[in-house]
Symmetry: C2
Subunit: 553 residues, 2 copies
């Protein structure tokens, strides 16, 4: 107990992550195949104009060859962990470390501390073999910590240049989500424009799974995080089915997409799983959402089953169109009539006062909400004066409103509901074998991109359901994934977010089975992530990837 590693931690430290064949002979013997020039997914003219030096670069794929393709020069690389933690970040760093050390022993890896601010402020440590050894195959970003500073201003970029020059860096690798990778691409363009010879390479990280496209098949960490949540959901399903008296409402992290909920549903077969994208597509009202839940509760009660499990995506209310309208009307109303509305003091009176300044539909919705939520909408506002949607306890909102509607329907059973929220429980889990291998391969691929002075690229490892030998490693120009979007009142080039595709195979599979799952207890209990057992237990990836690739057996 005196050493800081658990028994599993010690055993797991020895795991050697696997690399695809194309990387297994080391970075020097990698042939970099160049595809055709690329285009951004939309708004090509605009993106090209904004990225004159980095736009249109080719897709790169790596191939192992007999002969060295380049001389082994020492590389100085700085790495940044940006944004929320995701399982496997340490293995990306290990992949970069082993990659550049395999180029030549004198290469050095530096870790910027506390996220992008460490890069701007030049705060870093050297990651040597001993330090790296303590973090292989572990969860978390604690090796250098993470942070949420956004790299956006030219003032920041200029400070980065000063740091790069002082440290004599060949490259910066930014491990982050869609926004961080967007900013990495902007930084790459800025460096290129200023003739700063420092590559900027991105790595696709986010448990949310919304950084995904043809070339980035999945973001790292998604697999492990959802497996961890699914372990718990399975346990809760088993509990529900044993005690037979509770409904469990489980909210899952991830505000902008429902990939986590969908994958968890495919792994555990809950009675209900709400998919935000579907609710938005169908323009469902909150009432319709509540009714859809109540219908299941009532039907199950009718079959003698007064229990169940429902999965709720964290960002749900933002996808309910009328809720979005209510929020923006309230923001407006409170901005102009705050003293009048708040004067009343009591919730009901504040609601009445506010309703005078919003549309009839929004007034009706506001009045239908539980007291606590009304109060929150009136009082909890961010520094810009906006309602803080992220603070709304969606799972409790749903439970209260379901309860209310059951009373309206003269429900004869007792509706006893418990709520859970899973997020922090899985973001720093130690990576599954899949994430451990995938992350290590991404980091190793990044080292090859650095070796070849590529910039404005994201490391890419594809064909992820084909067996690791055949995984295709390479690089994708980040501009290729971009389009223009309205952000904070201005058009900005950003990586397109991947929402749940309602025509995609994972959702179709769910859609086909959900009525049966609602009615029966077809629960699946995935259990805890295993590292040492049979390969079908330890080395499988997730249903989303398998279904997307027609690889589900």
């Amino acid at each position: 107990m005196s050493e800081n590693l658990s028994v599993l931690g010690k055993a797991r430290a020895d795991y050697k992550p696997k690399l695809p064949l194309s990387l297994r002979t080391g970075p020097l013997k990698v042939l970099v195949n160049q595809g055709n020039a690329t285009q951004s997914v939309r708004d090509q003219d605009k993106i090209k104009e904004l990225f004159p030096n980095t736009y249109g670069a080719p897709i790169l794929t790596f191939e192992a060859v007999e002969e060295k393709q380049t001389a082994g020069m020492p590389l100085n690389v700085g790495v940044v962990l940006s944004g929320g933690q995701a399982p496997g970040g340490h293995n990306v760093i290990a992949g970069i470390f082993d990659g550049i050390k395999a180029v030549i022993g004198g290469s050095k890896l530096y870790g910027f501390l506390g996220g992008p601010s460490g890069l701007v402020d030049g705060k870093y440590i050297e990651i040597d073999r001993e330090l790296m050894g303590k973090y292989r195959n572990t969860g978390g970003f604690d090796i250098i910590q993470s942070g949420r500073t956004k790299l956006e201003s030219t003032e920041q970029f200029d400070r980065c240049i000063a740091v790069v020059k002082k440290m004599d860096l060949n490259a910066i690798v930014i491990i982050g989500g869609d926004d961080s990778n967007t900013n990495a691409a902007v930084l790459a363009e800025y460096f290129a424009a200023k003739k700063v010879k420092c590559s900027v390479i991105g790595c696709p990280k986010t448990i949310d799974g919304d950084l995904k496209n043809e070339y980035i098949e999945t973001s790292f960490g998604f697999d492990t995080a959802v497996k961890t949540y699914s372990e718990l959901i399975g346990n809760i399903e088993r509990d529900a089915n044993s005690a037979r008296k509770y409904w469990h409402f489980v909210k899952l992290m991830g505000r902008s997409a429902s990939h986590i909920g969908l994958e968890a549903a495919l792994q555990t077969h809950p009675n209900i799983c709400l998919i935000s994208e579907e609710i938005k597509e169908k323009k469902m009202t909150l009432e319709q959402v509540i009714f859809s839940i109540v219908d299941v509760v009532v039907a199950r009660y009718g079959a003698g089953k007064n229990f169940g499990v429902a999965l709720i995506p964290e960002g749900l209310v933002e996808f309910i169109p009328e809720f979005g309208i209510l929020i923006s009307e309230l923001n407006e109303a409170l901005a102009h009539n705050e003293s009048e509305i708040k004067k009343a003091g009591k919730v009901a009176e504040m609601v009445e006062a506010a309703c005078k300044h919003i549309s009839e539909a929004s007034a009706k919705l506001l009045k239908s909400l539980p007291d606590g939520i009304q109060l929150q909408l009136m009082l909890d506002r961010d520094p810009h004066g906006n309602v803080q949607v992220s603070l709304i306890e969606t799972e409790k909102l749903l439970i209260e409103m379901v309860s209310k509607e059951l009373k309206v329907r003269a429900f004869k059973g007792k509706f006893a509901a418990l709520n859970h929220f899973f997020g922090y429980e899985g973001r720093c889990a130690a990576p599954s074998n899949f994430d451990a291998d995938y992350c290590y391969s991404l980091g190793y691929a990044a080292s090859v991109l650095v070796l070849h002075n590529k910039t404005g690229y994201m490391a890419s490892v594809r064909k992820l359901t084909d067996g690791i030998d055949n995984w295709i490693a390479g690089g994708v120009p980040t501009t290729m994934m971009m389009n223009m979007e309205r952000r904070h009142g201005a058009d900005k080039p950003v990586i397109q977010k991947a929402l749940v595709d309602l025509k995609g195979k994972p959702f179709k599979y769910f859609e086909k089975h959900r009525d049966e799952w609602a009615r029966l207890e077809d629960y699946m209990f995935p259990g805890p992530i295993q590292y040492f057992g049979p390969t079908e237990v330890c080395d499988v990836t997730n249903y989303t990837l398998m279904l997307e690739h027609d690889a589900l057996k």
Copy 2:
């Protein structure tokens, strides 16, 4: 995905739980060694008087011998799952099943449905080989479900007799916690008094760990449940240490003892872990508890560490003496002055009104509590008119009061706290190898007790840190663990609850290290339970057991 087993479930179904050597030759070749007559732990005269037919029976230990010790007659056994789920219940049933089938193939196992009420109402199914096969090594109690009906009245007992006679049962095995085992002993005595030739055998179940003594070294399920919570706590520690901006307050299930929190602390080294028994022993006030937390928060902030993890036992407030007094005074005050107190309507006014009817100390405490908690104390009362202590969200109460005290101390940092509650997440986890083996051995031992017509016994498996070969299986007379306690206004014979022993080695170990754990990030990340890896990863038990047995390496 069409079959109901996950890939891990399929692989795990093949696990063969291990038995101690004394049981490995089958139940017929077990010699039952009888010790001396026993005494109850306290109140011997009273307990003896209440259990004239079953008191004083000897401790039994099993020994494997070459020769059959008894003829193999078919046994009809009914099994009941009572109370909250605990990992391994299905393996107890599997142990009974395999045990009685090894006596003779014609033996039959029946499962009473939905807990003790299934026994009273004669609702049951036969558990055959196929059904049993689906539940080996799985979590949950879903094979026959559980329930919380208490077996206490002679009317219930008489109905049990009718069921026993109709089904021609040789024995009933009741798998439950301290209360259920107490009731099993009362039922055994009743059957004996009425000359009903049906054994009643208990099995020690509860994740809380408070059913424990010299002969019952641990209750089953504790090991798996705490390992599951510790997996999550470790992940959260890693997250806290990566993001470095949140304090996580983690409440852990278990109202009457802090074994779960203590074991989780030994596994994960959090910055703070409150132990209810210590707070009670030291007669700490709520203010002192809050100060103890605030001191750590402030000291860590001073060292540049504005984050941390605190573990909170679910039953905390009931162990704070002044809180107990406040509750009972409020119960009294509300019973006699309800309309006067509630007339005011607003929280602050209700508090003022209530304070006129309670002691000065209680009034001061009540006024120091956050609004929400005050409201709950005034309004949320059970059918008997008592304040519902179990509904108090202790983790939020602590966060609010710590926040308030930090303001008083002019704390310069931002105190951002997140709360979690782990309970349902682990109660139905699939059993660890330890629980799988221990439960199977308990069930198998129960079958031997049944074969030898023993009644009023609990199945016992001891020397649990000595290697399974050497585990000592046998039976302990349940009356031996009993004393008289005041329950609902009457003296009742009950099994003595095992609270955390403040002089015991697990607490001493924690006490020795906790200041260091508070200051540093000595976090341990146990990771998910492993079933297939190295034996030091898969087959170890928990720190509580190892420390109690001087077996920690």
